[in-house]
């Protein structure tokens, strides 16, 4: 009578083991899927982020080029406007006559003089 009892106990043990194995297998599969999903999402997110950064770099490169062109344009205009010939034309147009000051009208200050005058005017010691 004891034999059939052992048989059914063995069968039960085998079934339990199989059930645990299946559950472990499913759990592992689920975990692998989860990891794969997370990695995929991270990959997609990084991909999207790098694409976005790439677009931003492209945009900034174009902006830099445009700003560089604007600077060049302004430098060109400034250089043209301040050229001696252009200034003379402007003086003529506005009837401005420029002449050098006579030497006796020129006051020359040395650094020491400025230092002294600053001290006299402000009561503080100036820095040379």
């Amino acid at each position: 009578m004891a034999r059939p009892k052992r048989k059914s106990r063995n069968r039960l043990r085998t079934r339990t083991r199989k059930t645990v194995q299946v559950r472990l297998y499913h759990g592992a599969s689920l975990l692998a899927l989860l990891v794969a999903a997370v990695l995929s999402l991270a990959y997609l997110s990084l991909g999207a982020r790098s694409e976005e950064l790439g677009r931003e770099i492209n945009r900034l490169e174009k902006r830099l080029e445009a700003v560089r062109r604007d600077v060049q344009n302004e430098e060109f205009k400034w250089s043209h406007l301040t050229s001696p010939g252009e200034l003379e034309k402007l003086f003529k147009r506005h009837n401005i006559v420029m002449s050098w000051p006579p030497p006796e009208n020129i006051v020359r200050l040395r650094r020491g003089d400025l230092h002294l005058r600053f001290a006299q005017a402000t009561g503080r010691e100036g820095h040379e």
């Binding site: 492209n58 060109f76 205009k77």
Partner: protein, 578 residues
């Protein structure tokens, strides 16, 4: 019944979906399993984009860092005739473009009406400011293409020194040509992919070699002094009706060229319309017989050898002397003159007698040591060496002619550099126009220093020569028109007859003046040469131009006059001067 129809519909949808998916699957399998390399390459070609990343040329500045040459972003303005014809309004567009771009509207209208054309250029190299109003109008069928072009914001100012670069971006004259390797930079290279709208996909940029921008060049030329020089030359050209004129201003102690101008001139922004004569930098590339200004070099040699003293008397044959069977004439007849007066009155006979005492070989050696017969190495393309023949090929007459500036050819830069020797205690230094070259990272890659080439005469002789030359600008001297109120000028006039049809012509002269200022402590060495002026002599034509250049330049540089009571004390320290 309804269930049956619904079932049929479901089957139909399922079959359609199945067919579509099957088709797509087959197509996919065909693309992947078949010979797909060719197709893959075609797709890659469509998306791949490789191009040279162009860089602008470096900029050129004057010594005060004022911009002289630069690359400027500009636009080509074009129209799409087919688009405008479809939508109408061609006459209006032509009128507006013509008005804003200063182009004949009829010409634009003719371009718009060309059948079957997709693009017609209206105007190339248009400044950004001129494009803005057109863009604001939103005219259909009008397009703008980004281009970069060399531009010279100060127009013709110092055009002969800077030169120009051609439309391909290669230097073709002047500094642009000589320093092309520095200015041009190195273009980059990029291999990348674009999306279907032609936008670059940054993450697919596989090769990206960063371009290296061209280096910036700072010249020794001062824009202000250049302007004074050019203004004075323009006035001289107008007043004397000369064929041409050139002038050089050199800083004595450093050898730096502060101004170099040549007439006729051109605007480097429109170099294609300029003639060869206009483009020619006469200051370095035109050789000429210098005439009496050359006497300075010969007399300096004579005095350096101590063969004569300034107070020694020379008989000037009353204006006509037969030497080696040929007559030698003075401009005015003189009897007995001191050596100092020979220079002051510019006597040909007196100078010839002194040179004969020195002899052929020694005169030749002195002239060689002063730098004649070889290029100065200033660093400008097209510099001529001049002609100074070896004494073995001289005739019996040669020395008497060479000492008065004939039978010898020089350039303007050689002459001014010779004069600088006198102001520099006898040291010959190399003239230069470039102060420094700075690369795109801000590092100085070339910065020439003062280069002493030799010492043809002693310091005492140099100072004596300066002293003697100040007499030429005093009352009774040939260069009195170069005198200034507050400064003492040491200078010499020159009037050389030109060779026309193989003979010296009295009616075709080269008038010149060369001088140092202030004579007591020379700062500037200036040469003025005028080709065939109506007022023939150097004293009348070139000396006033010298003054017009020197006066504002000295004020601008804040070189203060030497007080009269302190002026000219160095006669004492010079041996054998009385």
């Amino acid at each position: 019944m309804n269930d049956k129809r619904q079932g049929m519909r479901l089957i139909l949808v399922a079959v359609t979906v199945a067919l579509v998916w099957t088709g797509l699957g087959l197509r996919l399998a065909f693309l992947h399993l078949g010979d797909h390399e060719e197709k893959l390459e075609s797709v890659r070609r469509t998306h791949r984009h490789q191009r040279e990343v162009l860089v602008g040329r470096g900029r050129i500045f004057d010594r005060n860092e004022h911009l002289i040459a630069m690359d400027l972003g500009m636009k080509h303005v074009s129209v799409d005739p087919s688009l405008i014809q479809d939508r109408g309004g061609g006459a209006f567009i032509a009128h507006q473009l013509g008005r804003l771009l200063e182009v004949d509207p009829a010409m634009i209208f003719a371009k718009i009406n060309r059948p079957g054309r997709k693009q017609e250029y209206v105007k190339k190299f248009v400044l950004e400011d001129s494009v803005q109003p057109i863009r604001a109008m939103g005219l259909h069928g009008v397009f703008f293409e980004d281009v970069s072009a060399r531009h010279y914001p100060r127009g013709p100012l110092m055009s002969h020194v800077i030169g120009f670069s051609n439309l391909e971006g290669y230097g073709s004259a002047g500094i642009e040509l000589r320093y092309d390797r520095y200015l041009r930079g190195i273009p980059g290279f990029r291999v990348t992919e674009v999306d279907r709208r032609g936008r670059e996909v940054y993450s697919r940029r596989s090769i990206d070699i960063v371009p290296r921008h061209g280096a910036d060049i700072t010249l020794t030329i001062d824009g202000r002094i250049q302007h004074f020089t050019e203004r004075a030359l323009d006035q001289a050209m107008e007043e004397t009706g000369a064929l041409g004129a050139w002038a050089i201003v050199q800083h004595v102690r450093t050898g730096e060229i502060l101004a170099m101008a040549s007439r006729p001139t051109f605007d480097p922004n429109h170099f294609r319309t300029a003639t060869d004569e206009e483009r020619r930098n006469r200051a370095v590339s035109m050789v000429f017989e210098p005439g009496s200004i050359f006497k300075v070099a010969v007399i300096a040699g004579v005095l350096n050898e101590r063969l004569f003293r300034p107070s020694d008397i020379i008989f000037c044959e009353n204006g006509r002397w037969m030497h080696a069977g040929k007559p030698l004439n003075d401009f005015r007849p003189y009897g007995h003159l001191t050596v100092a007066d020979v220079l002051k009155k510019s006597s040909n006979i007196g100078t010839a007698k002194m040179a004969l005492e020195l002899g052929n070989r020694k005169v030749y050696d002195y002239l060689k040591n002063f730098g004649f017969g070889v290029p100065t190495g200033i660093g400008l393309p097209g510099e001529e060496a001049g002609i100074l023949r070896h004494p073995s090929s001289w005739t019996a007459l040669s020395l008497s002619r060479i000492c008065m500036g004939h039978e010898v050819m020089v350039t303007g830069i050689q002459m001014v550099n010779m004069m600088t020797v006198l102001g520099n205690n006898g040291f010959l230094i190399r003239p230069r126009v470039v102060k420094r070259v700075v690369d795109a990272r801000g590092e100085t890659i070339y910065e020439p220093d003062i280069e002493v080439l030799g010492r043809p005469i002693s310091g005492a002789t140099a100072r004596l020569m300066v002293k003697l030359l100040t007499r030429a600008t005093e009352e009774g001297g040939t260069g009195r028109h170069a005198r200034m109120d507050n400064y003492t000028v040491a200078g010499k006039t020159g009037t050389a007859e030109k060779v026309i049809d193989g003979r010296y012509s009295r009616n075709h002269n080269i008038a010149s003046f060369i001088g140092l200022v202030p004579a007591e402590r020379p700062e500037l060495s200036i040469l003025v040469v005028i080709d065939e002026p109506s007022t023939r002599t150097g004293g009348a034509a070139a000396a006033p131009v010298f003054r017009q250049i020197a006066e504002p330049s000295l004020r601008y540089l804040d070189i203060q006059p030497i007080p009269r009571e302190l002026a000219y004390r160095f006669g004492d320290e010079v041996p054998y001067f009385e």
